[in-house]
């Protein structure tokens, strides 16, 4: 067994340097690496390029890194409601690269899978296509998109074992598996860290080969953005 355990988030992120490209799991605030974000917030790192489907909210998630001005560039599909984000963008402090969500997922998946480029229909005829190679294949037009790799990736799983095998829960899986595989160093934080042999080998979502460091996170807040409820009558 290759033991991937590190003590905590601080140890896990300690060699992330300014200027790095960081891939982050999560959709909205669901399945985000809360502990890694908190640890990064405390460092002096800056000028990060952060690849994440969303950019958090003002006071949670990636929003915390934006508040501390650690992010030079966001690569996302939807940046949502985030006043500080908007301020930095309008003032020119922050660059943003907006990518169709499926293209983002596939570019990151391609990076982990060693596919440097692929054709996809999303964005054909739109400003997303500007400057990109297009090709007609079997009567339909496609854009050539390239892989999107990271120096580090930070992902959050439900359960994980010492060898870095991960299982996600519910819709908190989202971008986490692809981000894990596409980071040169993948840091996984989990709600429950178990010894090897406790997870069903047939039911692992992310094989440990993609994960370089794993630790059990603490104090998960799991904030909800839209608390929609069915009233019991």
């Amino acid at each position: 067994m290759i033991d991937k355990r590190v003590k905590n988030a601080e140890e896990a992120v300690q060699d992330i340097t300014s200027g790095s490209t960081l891939l982050m799991g999560g959709f909205g605030l669901s399945g985000i690496p809360e502990n890694c974000i908190a640890a990064l917030e405390k460092t002096d790192i800056k000028d990060l390029t952060v690849v994440s489907n969303n950019a958090g909210v003002d006071d949670f998630g990636i929003g915390l890194l934006l508040q501390k001005k650690k992010v030079k560039k966001m690569i996302s599909s939807y940046v949502g409601e985030n006043a500080e984000f908007e301020r930095q963008l309008l003032s020119g402090e922050l660059e943003v690269d907006l990518i169709p969500q499926g293209t983002l997922a596939e570019r990151v998946r391609a990076a982990g899978a060693g596919i440097p480029a692929f054709f996809t229909p999303a964005g054909v005829g739109t400003e997303v296509a500007e400057g990109k190679e297009t090709r007609e294949i079997e009567g339909k037009t496609y854009l050539l998109e390239s892989w999107l790799r990271g120096d580090f990736s930070c992902v959050k799983a439900w359960k994980g074992d010492y060898a870095g095998n991960l299982i996600f829960k519910g819709t908190a899986r989202n971008f986490n598996p692809m981000m894990a595989a596409a980071g040169k160093i993948c840091i996984a934080e989990v709600e429950e860290l178990v010894p090897v042999g406790e997870l069903d080998p047939n039911q692992i979502h992310t094989p440990g080969i993609y994960v370089q460091r794993i630790f059990q996170g603490v104090n998960y807040e799991k904030r909800i953005e839209q608390r929609t409820i069915t009233q019991t009558s």
Binding site: L29, G102, T126
Partner: protein, 218 residues
């Protein structure tokens, strides 16, 4: 004129048995409430779920279960969970049978604009560009005119577009229309109490009117 719920209700009549359906944020989400009894359909949420259940009761709220609009939801008996890459593999691969989404503008050749307004903060296209580029069957829910009264069914979109030649049907507050394969909005039904003349005057793009245009039935 149709209310938002009535637009959703009219769209729901287009849903067919055994379809996998992706519902966009806003009016399209309301369609789920009007799907006729007896139809077996499955709703897809692009953040990684087939089988979207109703909102949870207070005690069942789970931050690890949200839809693409980031609302807390529940599972159904036939739910399946997966990654975002798998989710868009389904969408891009044409496995989702029906996509219902909102629009700010649609052109007479089926282009759609729904992600960006010049001068306003751009929030991003999310999954909309993948959906419109991939789906065979796209129905748009929208208002026929802007608040200032200008038509949103145009010869050409004025806003940055989300996808080209992709919209198949439109339900607005005034009418139900289909896109002609060679261009033009075919008027199929009028909203109750709305005249063909009114629709004509509020449609900038080419409007195709053939025979008697019935009122919608609910």
């Amino acid at each position: 004129m149709l209310s938002k719920n009535q637009i959703a209700q009219r769209i729901a009549k287009e849903v067919k048995n055994r379809q996998y359906i992706n519902l966009g944020i806003g009016i399209p989400t309301l369609v789920a409430n009007y799907i006729p009894e007896g139809l077996d359909v499955v709703l897809q949420s692009e953040n990684g779920l087939l089988g979207i259940g109703p909102f949870p009761t207070e005690d069942k709220v789970d931050p690890d279960l949200i839809n693409a609009g980031k609302q807390t939801i529940t599972l159904t008996r036939d739910s399946v969970l997966f990654s975002s890459a798998e989710s868009f593999a389904m969408i891009r691969g044409g496995h989702v049978d029906l996509t219902i989404l909102g629009a700010m503008e649609v052109s007479e050749n089926g282009d759609i604009a729904n992600w960006k307004i010049p001068g306003k903060m751009v929030k991003g296209m999310g999954g909309a560009m993948d959906l419109v580029a991939s789906a065979e069957n796209i129905i748009v829910a929208m208002q026929h005119c802007s608040r200032s009264g200008s038509s949103k069914l145009l010869k050409e979109c004025t806003l940055p577009i989300t996808g080209i030649s992709c919209v198949k049907k439109i339900v607005t507050d005034l009418a139900f229309l289909e896109l002609h394969p060679e261009g033009g909005f075919i008027l199929k039904e009028r909203a109750p109490g709305v005249s063909v003349e009114e629709i004509k005057s509020k449609t900038e793009g080419k409007l195709i009117i053939e025979g008697n245009i019935p009122e919608m039935e609910f």
